[in-house]
Every structure is written in C-alpha cells, then in structure tokens.
Amino acid sequence: MSRPQALPPILKIGRFTLKDHVRQKSFIVMFLIGAAFVFFTRSCYQGDYLVNGQMLGAGSVAGGIAKMSFHTIAIGMMLLAALLAMRAFSHDRDHGMQACILAKPITRTQYVMGKVLGLWILALACMFILHVIVFFIMALRVKAFMPAFLAASLLCSLNLMFVVISVLVLSLCMSDFVAFIAVMAVTVISFVSEGIHALHQSQMLDAIALPQGAVSQADVTWTTVMYYLWPKLSGLQITAASLIDHGWSGGWADLYPLVNIFAYCLILLALLLWRFRGEEII
C-alpha cells in the first residue's frame, strides 16, 4: 500500500541531518563565535585610513574590508563544513539512525544524497547569514548596497559542497579526523598554489628575477598541469569575490574554477555513492 509522501526521502533525511546538527551545542557555539566576530568588525568600516600618505575614500575602505570579510567567512565556513561532515556517518551509525533509516524502504543513494544535502544547506545557510550581516553593516554604516555580495556568497557555496562530499567520501575510507585533515590539506594547497601562481604571473617578479631583455617563457610543466587540475577552491572564491567589485569578466579564467569544482563535486559524489553501496550497516 503506497501512501501520499509529504516530502521525498532525500529531503526528509536532509532535514533530519540539519536538525541533528543544529541541536548540538558545539555547532551553536561555533556559529555564535563567527557571528560575534563579524559583528565586532563593524567599526572597521568607518574611519580615516591613510595609505602612502593619501587618505582613502569611504567607498574603497568599505569595499576592501567587505572583501576581506567575505574571504574570511568563506574560509571559516569551509572549516565548519568539514567539521560537520567528518562525523556525519559515524554519528548516525553510533546512534542507530543509519539502521533505523535503511530498514525502511529507503535506498542507500537516497540516504547519502540526503546527508549531503542537509550538510550543504546547513553550511550554506551559516555562510549566507554571516555574509548578510556584513551586507547590512555596510548598508547601515557606510550606505553601500552591494547585492553582488550575496550573489558571491551563493556562488562560493559550491566550495562548501566540495568540502562536504570529499570529507564524507574520505570518512568511509579512513578515520574521521584523518579525513578532515586530508580535506583541509587539499584546501590549504589550493590557496598556496593560487598564491604562488599569482606571484609567478606577476610582471613585477619578472622584472626582478629576469635579466634585462630576457622574455619569460610559459612552459607547460607538471606543476602547471597540477595547478590546473587541483581543486580550484581558492580560484572559485576569488571568482566569487570578483562579483563584489564588478571584476567578473565572464571569460574562461573566471569560469574555469567553477567548472573545476563542479566536476570534482560530481566525480566525488559518484565515488561516495559507489563506496557507500558496499558499506556494512551496523
């Protein structure tokens, strides 16, 4: 006998996941610390900033601090997403929730997709709320309305999806903590490599390092290939931030990090579903 379903199973499991995490004190404390940090930066948006003897305008100060806040929140939320995801399966297993759910007519694919969805929405909501606080601080204190700031936040949420899925996949193959550290290492390498690449591309560095008259050669080495194939978490964040100051060109350079992370999400999700199919449910 089939009953009318209020919500598809994926959404129900996603909702349970979300509720379970929101109930945890550690999550509430982490989120409140983040919100307090963002709130306390409000006085930074106003003031006289002197750079190279020149007074900065209120707009450029607000823009600069807003971008800094944007990046700090986005990085902090990747850390939070990894922390939330690392115990997602083991928490359900330890509390008998996995057996309770999978003893019902619910497939493993629906269960995994529900977990991914719940964790991603939770991390996205946290990041968006913090970005909304920054948005309102700017709007109220310096009268700068930046709707692109919120669009950038949503674009950046793809990074959170990557973090959630990769931690979930790795937590099936290794201990939860090692999975967390591994994904954080991938994130750090992404940011460091982006910095090195930017330095490598800089004309200032060429001018210092190369002898006069010599031409910089852009040779394709394995490091270049690695740079492009590595998850472009940093690249996507920079692309998203470019929306804030209207630096988005819409070219391949802006689109590539988006395509890269999206492709990684799909590959890792397929890997997660395949790996979970063979998992023993306790």
Binding site: H95, C100, P105
Partner: protein, 234 residues
C-alpha cells in the same frame, strides 16, 4: 513471506553463514535460535540489505532483499537499540512515521496509538537520554510497529530487560499474533520462544541444524532448551 536460498556470507576466511535455506510463511511466528556468533544477526542483516550475501538469494514478499521496496511493510527492532539522546521518544516515533511517508495528521494519530500500545504515556516527551533500557526497547518496538507492518523482524528484543519487561514484550507479541502479522524473532530466550513462536530454526557456526515447528523440534518430553543444547553441543 521470507525466503532464503543457499544464503552464504563470508568475512575473509570466516564463514558467518554457510548455505542456509529456509522460508517463513505469512502469519507465522518464526524464531531464529543459536548461540552467540552462530550467524543469526548476519541473516537478519542480509535480509535488510545491511550486508550483501557472498552467494545465495534472500527475498521478502517475493522481492529480492537488495531492493528497497522489499522493506515496504517491514518493521525492525535492532539488537542494542538506542535513540539519539537529544530526541524524545515521541520525536523518534515521529521521525519513523515521517520516513514511512505518513502525513502529519496520520503520523500524530499513529504515534499516539503506538505510545498507548507500548505503555509509555506520560514519558513520551522526556529525552531519550533519561530512558531506561526497557523504555528504549519499548520505543524501539513502537518504531518498528508504526504503519501496521506485515513483517516484524526483532533482533534480541528482550536483551537487557528485566523479567517484567520480558513478559510485557511477550504479551505484546501475543496480541500482534491475532492481527496476522509475521514475526522473525532472533532470540536467546528459549522459554519465551517456546511460548510464542510456531516454528524455529537452530543455527550453529553459520549452518542450519534444524528447521521445523516447535512441537516437532521439542518431542518426547524434551523442552526446546534440551534439544537446543543437544544440537549445539553436537
């Protein structure tokens, strides 16, 4: 209702279940008996697709156990059942009802009925962390009975319960028998099994030793316990 054909499960070199075949008819109260590590829980886990058999076929209601649809109308109470400590018994039941696809009003009615059936009125709003083992077991049974399942799989339902709790579970199962429910009971308590089950299978070291009606297994003045000990000790 349940059909196992040459079900085998190996963990590396360990044979947890070896070529086990039996069937359970609709409306039958069937007990799976065996000492610790005999393979009873592995059979239950294979039936629910919690672990895949190395070889053989298992089906529920004619559907392969690997299909989620086979678990439609199946209630399950695991061994060492627990609820997240931050949920109340009622919230747990509501989650189960939600997973079964019940609407809000149906879920409310069904949860109320179940709380009465398991005798937990007045404690349903307390957090699970404050429940005794017996209370948890009752809520677990309530979750398994939600939505009028056709098949109830109980893995050591009386584990950790005091004699009063054991008796209450037995009385509840006897009540359900009148509704024509099929039960697969995995238990150590042979005296309880003898009182409520129609038939049983005795398993040892992953192999099926006997499968018959209780009255056919325990003959010539022997109790089920006598036969069990004789068969298991070889």
């Amino acid at each position: 209702m349940i059909e196992l054909t040459s079900a085998t499960k190996h963990y590396d070199t360990l044979a947890a279940v070896e070529d086990v075949s039996f069937s359970v008819k609709t409306g039958e109260y069937f007990a799976l008996l065996g000492p610790n590590g005999a393979g009873k829980t592995t059979i239950v886990r294979m039936l629910l697709d919690f672990t895949r058999p190395t070889s053989g076929r298992l089906s529920i209601g004619g559907l392969p156990s690997t299909q989620a649809a086979a678990r439609l109308g199946v209630g399950y109470l695991p061994e060492n059942f627990h609820i997240q400590p931050y949920l109340s018994g009622r919230q747990y039941l509501e989650r189960c009802a939600d997973l079964l696809g019940m609407g809000r009003s149906e879920a409310t009615d069904e949860c109320r009925r179940m709380i009465e059936l398991i005798g937990m009125q007045g404690r349903e709003h307390s957090l699970a962390g404050t429940y005794s083992k017996g209370m948890l077991q009752r809520f677990g049974l309530g979750g398994a009975l939600l939505g009028h399942p056709k098949l109830l799989i109980l893995d050591e339902p009386t584990s950790g319960l005091d004699p009063i709790g054991i008796r209450e579970i037995r009385l509840l199962l006897e009540t359900l028998k009148k509704d024509g429910m099929t039960i697969l009971l995995n238990s150590h308590l042979l005296s309880e099994v003898e009182k409520i089950c129609d038939s049983a299978a005795i398993i040892n070291q992953g192999r099926l030793l006997v499968k018959d009606t209780i009255s056919s297994i325990a003959t010539d003045g022997d109790t089920l316990e006598d036969v069990f000990i004789r068969l298991v000790r070889g």
